[in-house]
Symmetry: C2
Subunit: 455 residues, 2 copies
Amino acid sequence: MNEVVDFINVNRDRYVEELKQYLAIPSVSALPQHAADVRRAAEWTADALRAAGVPHARLVETPGNPVVYGEWLGAPGRPTVLFYGHYDVQPVDPLDLWLTPPFEATVRDGEIYARGAADDKGQVFMHIKAVEAHMKKAGALPVNMKFFIEGEEEVGSAHLDECIRANKELLAADVVVISDSTMFDRGIPSICYGLRGLAYFQIDVRGTKTDLHSGSFGGAVANPAFALAQILAQMKDRGGRVKIPGFYDDVRPLGEQERAEWRKLPFNETRYRKELGAPRLSGEKGYSTLERVWARPTFEVNGLLSGFTGEGAKTVLPAVAMAKVSMRLVPDQRPDRIAELFEAYLKKVCPATVALTVTRMHGGKPWMTEFDNKYVRAAGRAIQTGFGQAPVFTREGGSIPVVSTFQEELGLPSVLFGVGLPDENAHAPNEKLDLGNFHNGIIASACLYQEIAAV
Amino acid sequence: MNEVVDFINVNRDRYVEELKQYLAIPSVSALPQHAADVRRAAEWTADALRAAGVPHARLVETPGNPVVYGEWLGAPGRPTVLFYGHYDVQPVDPLDLWLTPPFEATVRDGEIYARGAADDKGQVFMHIKAVEAHMKKAGALPVNMKFFIEGEEEVGSAHLDECIRANKELLAADVVVISDSTMFDRGIPSICYGLRGLAYFQIDVRGTKTDLHSGSFGGAVANPAFALAQILAQMKDRGGRVKIPGFYDDVRPLGEQERAEWRKLPFNETRYRKELGAPRLSGEKGYSTLERVWARPTFEVNGLLSGFTGEGAKTVLPAVAMAKVSMRLVPDQRPDRIAELFEAYLKKVCPATVALTVTRMHGGKPWMTEFDNKYVRAAGRAIQTGFGQAPVFTREGGSIPVVSTFQEELGLPSVLFGVGLPDENAHAPNEKLDLGNFHNGIIASACLYQEIAAV
């Protein structure tokens, strides 16, 4: 391994220059005008894999954007790693808040600024370069590897599950490795062993056929915006607990050991609150902030729209009111079951004076692996080598639904080893990646394959 | 009077043709691009007054659109009528729902379709033609008359109160006559003796500095859209009563006689509900629909906006949430007092986890006159002549704040005699005016001056 690590150290600057080319392709999957760019990014990814020593890397077509697939299977008897990532990126709006153009990667103070730097091109490229180092110095990888890099992650991965189900044999492996998450904090490398799931809905409430004059009709018919407020207000109690009957039935309780581990993490509540600009932190009674975000389900209102919302005053009695709401789920809650419970409760609390429609938008299962899983431990050792310190073990509040799909469809555990930082503006202007973490991440990735070979 | 009425009958068609010219001027006060049209409508109104026999009718400048002022004071010893109306109109959007162009007045089935037909050019013109008939046949009016016709009614009459206060002597009179309201129903001429007032607010709730990812942060901080729902839900109880402490303190109770009169009105709840398209009617417990709309105060949500409101799903934890809310007020509630009570209650019910801002948008006092007021009775007799039947006496749920200003600043009672119909689309596409009511209204107006001369 020393030769591989030396090679990586020698090539540090070249990696950054190559990454800049990757980041120059505006592969914004949400915007139709970037369709050709998205395809170009897929081809660039396949080219980079081939150049790294993964022959025949190719595009697998889907009804949407292609998946980049490549494999190197020259280590019979050794484990097979399935690497998952994505080459598409978020839109860049609002463009005027970017200090440098989002698709002209710029290095400032040891960080590279560009859309996709952290999420996820930088972290995908890190693994491609780790593979390249093994191939150049050893002529082989210590494990078998399959690359599965999609182009629709930022738009909900609509065709991914189907693609996985249709290619079960092709994707057969021992473990999934994903680098699309963040470290706990600067200088604290992390392995994520749990993700929350999601159940997302739109609620539409109608009071009357058309908007009415609030003077001429106010008082005679229900106001749908008020009815919506009444409905939403009944979703959580004063202690922050979700009131949907049965909501907590399948929630796996937090273990005492896990809580004790998290209490040791260097988490500063005051700094966190100040950075968010919140008057105070607030959540479910009886849980710490990390516990609330990582291990407890939530009910959130994501959007509200009704009536007149412009400047000034308009005395309208709205005909309709709309809310987008979602619940983050934790093991062992299931999105479908939660949707049933939610819809039943909605029907119960909705006043009979308005008409209610609920639409299921999308859902994703929560995921958790044991943090003494052998692959997770292998990743811990690799990070120790790459970053010079042992990682902390964390969960995340967000969702990566494909992790559940890999578990359910392919029976595979996942190792989530991310080198982003929480303040790297993944979906915001001035996205960036710390180049120190990028470099250490290449070393850690190279070591990770070695460690997995030995489990 | 017979000669005057005959003259009006003979000239029926000419009035419609002249009205078409008035309606052709797109005097939309809300849209800056129509500023020249608004001024043109003011000049047209002054011209029409002069042509009718009100010499020296002129524009009185304000910081906004001019007021048209004209007077005929040739009846010393007789009462002076101050006529109030407006020459500006509502915007026409959505234009594609109009069956004929909004500024090319078109007659179909005895109704004239155009923006401003009912609100309020048609009803202003009705009085101008009544004056003309008196002047042509008698060479004089039976009363002294002052015309005060504004151009900012559809945008909140921002400069009107100041203009009235600055011209108290000019506007001195005995009674105000306003034709800017509707009849109770087709075939049921009405006099309105009460209006609700208004207190309108914007509520802004902030949870954090910026929008956040609902996965990464959901559960740790308050959701401002949920907090807003909690706040709003506490404004009314299950029985439809407003929960703001002190809100009902100054409400004048409905008299038994008044309730008995209203029960006699031909009001069909089922038809009303079906026309509105409401699952059921709903309002304050213990009151009928007419009582709820005419004589009881309300709390309404006029608008809601927060977070993501587009197609699909976005897992945002919004930074802010906004509501427009308003209360309709009844005698003897005062908008300023209600604002104080509301703001105090808001502070009490707002969670400490969010920052709250309340903005007072605008207010108007409720108004009521006795329905045995001598001018109201005079109007009753005039309507009997014009429409061949006695009017019913009604209140309205809406607000015409200038009525209170006339009472408070000039000490004047108002007579609200409107010939619109409830389904004439005053602020909607395909606004229209029934030409039978228009014609009978000219006769009734001419008779009204005669009746007032005799009180």
